[in-house]
Amino acid sequence: MTWDDILPLLWPATVETAVMVGWSTLLTALLGLPLGVALVVFDRGGLRPLPALKSALGFVVNVGRSLPFIVLMIAIIPFTRLVVGTTIGTAAFVVPLTVGAVPFFARLVETALREVGADVVQAAQAMGASRTAIVVKVLLPEALPGLVAGLTVTVVALVGYSAMAGTLGGGGLGDLAVRYGYQRFETLLMIVTVVLLLVIVQVLQSFGDRVARRLSHK
């Protein structure tokens, strides 16, 4: 294989990876953020202590986190079919990617929110702020740099997951590496894919770091 053979394969694969990671990141942020907030707010000593609910949520999150992604992906095939109507193709894999990343991100959200000082929360309570106001005006803005850092880690993890998803029919760079690099011993393509993944991860990480730093006023 030469460059002329590789490039036409590389571009669509990159787009597929971007689509999988992009959508699943968006959905993960939308679902994981409230879940992370719930883990903090409903905790014992939280703004609205509901220990039973918190334990239930924590359990679900732990189950999601303890399953290896490849197992999870296969285990939730029926659910994926229910949601998107099919289990192959890039769109179908947004579902397992999101399901796999939500618990992961929710824990990172939880950690970031716990970093917010108890004294700041208490000061807000002493000023008569409602629970909603405390979440929206204190917890989330104060934790923003940590949330961005957490989302960055999640995106990077999703790039990795998406490569695994590729091997089961999701397409993308992982699929390319397996089909050509592994099964047909195309060393050049293998190297190019690896470098490309490395660059993508590096760019995402340093962009995330930069944003987090810009937002931090500690």
Partner: protein, 318 residues
């Protein structure tokens, strides 16, 4: 202005407050003193119900807070300012944003908010610093932001938990001067917790001394100074201990230049040696405390004369 009755607070087996009654009059600066773990913070946090007391009631500005439901309690809290040892400012907001926070919570419209923030920053001596971030300020400036924020809702009461403990002595004095000024100009009632006697001496009108979740002693400083055996007096005027039997401790308020002592020496022909003493400027005026040994034929008459001149006379070991 603040009336707490029969306050108890238990955390599991720990009794943090064990039946506390507190009465803070309108317009006074009331200090709470006590060792670490005495329950001072718990008491303060019960006043705005950050902690719900296990038993007892808290009334602030005529409103029984313990009877309020959460939304009403939030509204009542907007009229009770609070400042904190480590300032508790939001690092995600500018100085102006921090001061605007309680106004947002109260639903004050944007225009009005901006006007009020400028006014408050002016009041605490931070005009023009609104766009700064809290991490660009010194400790004293941060506490000024905390004070401006606490005053946003025009509170009648300000609660302060060790608000100067993280500051150096000069900055402490400037923050205390600011509190004193707000007390005088706005008629703000201040309940402050401290472990620094210096804070009590320079701003407080009244104090309570706490130990083991109870109030051991409380009242106006001038009143306590005139009470024999008061712990406050002993803390403010440390004298060498133990006092020799028969020695006399004299506490005098008012103009320290009155020649009462030399008068007694001349008039009753007694010898007087000074064992220890000091003069302190307290918020209510200057107070002196002197331990002396008296010798002579008519020491009893001499002591009577001193009592007659308005001094508090405590005779040791009699």
């Amino acid at each position: 202005m603040i009336q707490a009755s029969g306050l108890r607070k238990q955390y599991g087996d720990t009794v943090a407050l064990d039946g506390v009654d507190l009465h803070v009059r309108e317009g006074e600066i009331f200090g709470v003193l006590g060792r670490s773990g005495a329950g001072k913070s718990t008491l303060l946090r019960c006043v705005n119900l950050l902690e719900r007391p296990t038993a007892g009631t808290v009334t602030v500005a005529g409103q029984d807070l313990t009877a309020l439901r959460s939304a009403e309690l939030n509204r009542a809290r907007q009229r009770i300012g609070m400042i904190h040892q480590h300032f508790a400012l939001l690092s995600s907001r500018t100085v102006a944003g921090n001061v605007a926070f309680p106004l947002e919570v109260m639903g004050v419209p944007r225009r009005e908010r901006e006007r009020r923030v400028a006014e408050l920053l002016d009041l605490v001596g931070l005009q023009g610093r609104g766009k700064d971030r809290p991490n660009q300020l010194s400790g004293g400036q941060k506490q000024r932001v905390g004070i401006a924020r606490a005053l946003a809702g025009n509170p009648s009461v300000l609660l302060s938990d060790e608000a100067t403990s993280a500051l150096d002595p000069a900055t402490t004095q400037s923050i205390l001067a600011l509190l004193k000024r707000l007390n005088a100009e706005l008629g703000l009632t201040i309940l402050l917790i401290t472990h620094e006697m210096n804070v009590v001496k320079s701003v407080c009108d009244s104090v309570a001394i706490m130990a083991g979740g109870r109030i051991e002693e409380s009242g106006s400083i001038t009143g306590l100074i005139r009470t024999p055996g008061s712990r406050l007096t002993r803390e403010i005027f440390p004298l060498p201990a133990p006092a020799p039997p028969g020695s006399v401790t004299l506490t005098f308020t008012g103009d320290p230049r009155q020649p009462v002592v030399s008068e007694v020496v001349r008039k009753f022909d007694v010898d007087l040696s000074i064992l220890g003493g000091s003069i302190e400027d307290l918020a209510g005026g200057s107070v002196g405390r002197l331990r002396v040994a008296l010798e002579g034929d008519d020491t009893a008459a001499a002591l009577d004369h001193l009592r007659g001149a308005g001094l508090l006379v405590e005779v040791e070991g009699s």
